[in-house]
């Protein structure tokens, strides 16, 4: 049994219904402060909706308790910035105009060369780093990443996750991460939460390489029922 005082997030009996459809069903788990939780599952399993629920963007039943005094940084799956003439500096200033250079430095970007560039012309890797800079600019203690390396090449992907680990170590950040890449899940997370509307697996990240676990995660959903 985990020490309750070390938890940063406690979710119990969380359900979301939209347009008479159950999107998330009776989800319960606890997350320790400073841990990295990977959220996996097939397409349409409700992973992004789960994040939206944690951000309080959709109505839900059940309980979401952020135990610590929490400040959340969020990195969305995709942006629609290609048609908008907005520079990196302007974008970051929307959130915090005083810390733009430091946050870019934290994600390995040279502020001099990138601050005046338009968001729409950045490469996939640069854009993801700018998004992470956006997420950490006001020093959050929780980061939510919705498939942070979609459309990024393999080298950049590894670099982004390495940087994420460093940030996590330096700033004691708790990370929740949605990913389809089991290699990333195995190497860069401590725990795995598998969703398929309900929780189908919750355990240590090493387990995700086990074929039996993968069948549970990506096969017909067999829900784990929370202890009440």
């Amino acid at each position: 049994m985990e020490n309750r005082n070390e938890n940063i997030l406690e979710v119990s009996n969380l359900s979301v219904q939209l347009a008479n459809q159950t999107i998330l069903d009776n989800i319960s788990f606890e997350l320790k402060k400073g841990a990295t939780l990977a959220i996996v599952g097939p397409n349409g399993a409700g992973k992004t909706m789960f994040f939206r629920t944690l951000l309080n963007l959709v109505p839900y039943t059940g309980k979401i308790v952020w135990v610590d005094k929490v400040k959340i940084g969020y990195v969305p799956q995709r942006l629609s910035a290609s048609d908008i003439p907005i520079s990196v500096e302007e974008f970051l200033s929307f959130k915090n105009a005083n810390n733009t250079e430091n946050s870019l430095k934290s994600v390995g970007l040279d502020s001099k060369s990138i601050l005046n560039r338009s968001l729409g012309v950045l490469s996939g890797g640069q854009l993801q780093r700018v998004l992470i800079a956006w997420a950490i600019i006001d020093k959050p203690n929780v980061l939510l990443f919705d498939e942070p390396t979609t459309g990024v090449d393999l080298d950049s992907e590894e670099a982004i996750y390495r940087m994420l680990n460093e940030l996590k170590r330096e700033n004691e950040i708790t990370v929740l991460l949605i990913s389809h890449d089991l290699h990333i899940v195995r190497h860069y997370s401590d725990q795995v939460l598998a969703l398929n509307r309900c929780v189908t697996f919750f355990g240590k990240s090493e387990s995700i390489m086990d074929e039996k676990v993968q069948r549970i995660v990506y096969g017909e959903p067999v829900c784990l029922h929370p202890q009440t």
Binding site: R52, L55, L57, I72, Y74, P76, R78, L79, S80, A81, D83, I84, P85, I86, S87, E89, E90, F91, F94, K95, N116, S118, L119, V121, W134
Partner: protein, 264 residues
């Protein structure tokens, strides 16, 4: 006569500036036709203003635009249809009703505007409304842009997108209503679309984009009204032609810079 021209120019510069500023968001939001279509909704209001002998028929147009903005916003929330679709459905009905009930002698003025009848009160109203619209839009500008970039990102930082959109639509209605005085209901959509489109051709950051859009709006109105006074032609079409000339110039500049946004 010189006094009327001065009032016209004051109205033109202030309305062109505010319409250019608000229009910069409309073009980014891919709602370019909303401003155009919304302006037609004012026509039945203007007609009722004439029929009920309001001090200025434009007050009827104001009222109709405001009510329409709220209806469009509410329908958008209920149906999840885009603003453009809803406005598209509403404006043809409004135009048809407007043309049927507007007394014929006033129809041309309502459709194409008439800057020759402006008085000092119109100029003061245009300046005050423009300043208020610009200041209020400034407060929500970044929030609207953030909502365009990512709805989740905006909402996660505390932006209420629905409320922001409603305020923005009301402000557009306000500026469109005073724009009708210069170019009429048929052409006022130009003021919120073309200056912003021209500015987009030359901008790689937001600041340059909305500043240029506002300046292009002002220059279009100013030069169109001046030409109208010189040539004794109606101001509305000349304002549009001046704006289109600016737009074509920016296209040429963009083309000359090898299809890359200017300044990159």
């Amino acid at each position: 006569m010189a006094e009327t021209l001065a009032f016209s120019l004051i109205i033109g510069i202030s309305v062109g500036f505010s319409a250019g500023y608000l229009g910069s968001l409309m073009v980014l939001e891919k709602m370019a036709l909303v401003g155009d279509a919304l302006s037609h909704v004012a026509l039945p209001g203007i007609a009722l203003g004439i029929l009920f002998n309001l001090p200025d028929p434009l007050l009827g147009g104001f009222a109709f635009l405001f009510v329409s903005a709220v209806v469009i916003w509410h329908l958008g929330r209920v149906t999840r249809l885009s603003f453009e679709t809803i406005v598209g459905a509403m404006f043809t009905l409004a135009l048809a009703i407007g043309i049927l009930i507007t007394p014929e002698p006033d129809l041309l003025e309502a459709l194409f505007g008439d800057i020759t009848k402006v008085i000092w009160l119109h100029a003061v109203a245009a300046v005050v409304i423009s300043v208020v619209a610009i200041l209020l839009t400034r407060m929500i500008y970044n929030k609207v842009v953030l909502g365009m970039i990512s709805e989740e990102l905006a909402t996660s930082t505390g932006v209420n997108i629905a409320r922001t959109n409603l305020l923005y639509l009301l402000l557009v209605s306000l500026v469109v209503a005073i724009g009708i005085k210069i170019v009429g209901t048929l052409l006022v959509g130009f003021l919120v679309v073309v200056p912003a489109a021209a500015a987009r051709n030359l901008s790689s950051n937001l600041f340059r984009y909305y500043v240029l859009s506002s300046i292009f709006g002002s220059i279009s109105s100013f030069s169109g009204i001046l030409f109208a006074d010189y040539s004794k032609a109606p101001a509305g079409p000349l304002v549009v032609l001046a704006g289109i000339a600016i737009f074509l110039t920016t296209v040429a500049i963009k083309w000359a810079s090898k299809f890359k946004p200017f300044g990159l």
